[in-house]
Amino acid sequence: MTRQTRVAYAFLAPGLLLFAAYRLYPLLEGLRLSFTNARLGRPLQQWVGLANYTRLLEDTRFHVSLWNTALYTVASTLPILAVPLALALALNRGRLKNLLRSVFFFPFTLSVVTVGLAWLWLLDPVVGPFNYYLRALGAPARSWLADPHTAMAAIILTTVWWVTGYYLVIYLAGLQDIPRELYEAAALDGASGPRAFVAVTLPLLRPVLLFVVVTHVIGSFQLFGQVFVLTNGGPGDATRTVVQHLYETAFQNFFQFGAASAMAWVLFAVILIFSLVQFRLLRGHTEY
């Protein structure tokens, strides 16, 4: 090992140590726990092989959670891609760009609990303003979060409202990076607004789109906060997600750390597969 390499490792060491202590070790300890019947507070734990994993095959609530999570991921991806992009395009040339960017970004500075509680009240079936105005307009009021047909849509709406500002900023940065000359060249070739968007903007935004989709999908699979505050997985299990199921198994239903760790590893595998597929699909001709 050269002196230079040693120095490099010395500088990397603090970061690597922290990574090992706070990321790698818990990850591997979780893997070990997933093969035991560990329960928090019980000193003895036994090796149970794949029992926690085979139990997941029979755990209908886990299946429902997995399905709900996938549904949320798929259903929320399009609005998360489209709404901030549309706003970014509108803001990109506008005069009030900086002001509006801050306005749209503001919700993202709020914690998920604050956002959840605010929307919980807005959508409250009895005293919430949302239904109040619906009634005033002559439309029937409904309990959005207590109706299994609308609860997930309400959660998606809340999330879109919450994170749009964040993705908007990313899209705006991506749009600013596209050289103006390309649009000028496109204009000379007779490509106007929509054609230029398809031929210039979208291809050059590809890395940004990839980033948005991948981070959103990973975040979606870990969806917890909004659901926990807005519906607690309800009505029934209609909006129950994998992370909520995992959390309850670990911290509410008898502290079953072994079973919960198995769920975490299954979730990890699912996210990994999805991410690999996305990279493959969207990599294309992207130049980084």
Partner: protein
């Protein structure tokens, strides 16, 4: 050098330390300064010695509502009386329990914790709580005769005592005077009528709900669909329970349990008397959109603050017996890594002091005490709501003493919500719930 000494002096002397600072007394002589500094050091040492004699203890509780402020006031008073300082950590109950389960085995638990009765069995069986022997209980002046049986028994698990009850959060029936009046459901004295049976409750509730956007009856504070404590209350009224008497197999799918589940399903779906599954019933009651409301006793001080015109009545008999759900708060001593006699004694001193001053707690926090002594206090019996709460005492019932109770309750929540919203038929749901409860690991 002197600056540094002054700095140190200022630190150890607390708030008064800076009085000796040369900046304030520029013309002080060196001798006088040294003498002054010495005297201040002695004073600081004396204060430390006093503080050492009276320890500081840590106390975890979940009193996040208005009752937390009352607890703060009483603890200040306790510190003034005893010299013992208490550092409280206050977090939502569910988080508190998860934290206890993690912190205590790691030796990071508090000296004292307030928990709900149904948490005692699992914390006791997991070795989180210190057992309290009879000799200690008696020596500290706690006797079974001073308490109501449901509360005193709730502090034990497998014949061993792990906790001492403080107060009794419980259900009560709130009646919104304005809403009841508008529905013509008041007596000759102008007071709301109290339903005497399930049928009468439904009939009265339908009359109230005939007015648009108004609900006749609800059980539960926020999210009536998943209000397990209300569901438990109805189960107990019907002589049913979550577990069979041997505490091994689930009993929710037995006929008495099914009957309750059917009623639960009918509240919003068939009778159309109750608010949606996720409604905030407290806000609805305050807004004059809910007539009859079974909810926790912890709500009534808030209703008074909101200036709602209401009366409180003992829980009506909706099934076979007028049982009242109760969930006494219990004082517990989590296991410490190394026994600290002084701190344990200080924790006991606080429990004793609170028990002796529980009337203040009842009056300010609105929770009636587990100990009988305060029940005859004229200030308490003079309050109509507290009087109604006390009159229910013979009907109090608590959760079953199994370590799996809380886990079973968590499983119950989404199932009864699915019943309430009509997502699942009552019978299938209860059978599914029984299966889930029976599958809980040992």
């Amino acid at each position: 050098m002197s600056e540094r000494e002054n700095g140190v002096e200022g630190g150890t002397g607390g708030g008064n330390g800076s009085a000796g600072s040369p900046a304030r007394r520029p013309r002080v002589s060196r001798r006088a300064f040294v003498a002054g500094a010495g005297a201040a050091s002695v004073a600081a040492w004396a204060r430390r010695a006093t503080a050492q004699g009276k320890p500081t203890i840590t106390y975890w509780n979940g009193l996040t509502g208005a009752d937390g402020k009352v607890m703060d006031e009483l603890i200040d008073q306790f510190t003034r009386d005893s010299g013992i300082r208490i550092e409280q950590q206050r977090l939502p109950w569910a988080d508190l329990y998860a934290k206890l389960q993690v912190a205590v085995p790691a030796g990071e638990g508090p000296d004292l914790a307030l928990i709900h009765t149904v948490e005692v069995p699992h914390f006791a069986s997991d070795g989180v709580l210190e057992a309290i022997d009879d000799a200690t209980t008696t020596a500290k002046g706690f006797r079974a005769d001073d308490y109501l049986p449901a509360t005193w028994q709730g502090g034990t698990y497998q014949s061993k005592r792990y906790s001492l009850p403080l107060d009794v959060p419980q259900h009560i029936l709130y009646l919104n005077t304005k809403v009841m009046k508008e529905a013509g459901l008041v007596g000759a004295d102008g007071r709301p009528r109290v339903p005497g049976s399930r049928d009468e409750l439904v009939t009265m509730a339908k009359r109230i709900a005939s007015k648009p956007e108004t609900f006749g009856f609800a059980i539960g504070t926020v999210g009536p669909g998943r209000y397990t404590w209300g569901f438990h209350n109805l189960l107990w009224q019907n002589g049913a329970n979550i577990y069979a008497a041997d505490l091994k197999k689930a009993a929710v799918a037995e006929p008495a349990g099914l009957e309750v589940a059917e009623f639960w399903a009918a509240l919003e779906g068939q009778h159309k008397i109750a608010p949606p599954a996720n409604a905030n019933c407290r806000d609805a009651f305050i807004a004059g959109k809910l007539g009859m409301w079974i909810a926790g006793s912890w709500n009534f001080t808030g209703l008074r603050e909101a200036k709602v015109e209401f009366t409180a009545a003992p829980l009506p008999r909706l099934f076979k017996q007028p049982v009242v759900w109760a969930m006494p708060h219990q004082y517990t001593f989590p296991k410490a890594k190394a026994a600290d006699r002084t701190k344990r004694d200080a924790a006991w001193a606080h429990v004793r002091w609170m028990t002796d001053h529980v009337a203040e707690w009842t009056l300010k926090a609105g929770q009636v005490s587990a100990s009988r002594k305060a029940h005859s206090d004229a200030r308490i019996t003079g309050d109509p709501v507290l009087r109604a709460l006390l009159s229910q005492a013979p009907q109090w019932q608590v959760g079953q003493p199994t370590p799996k109770w809380v886990a079973a309750e968590n499983l119950t929540r989404p199932v009864i919500e699915a019943v309430y919203t009509g997502q699942k038929p009552a019978k299938a749901a209860m059978e599914d719930l029984a299966r889930q409860i029976n599958a809980l690991p040992d």
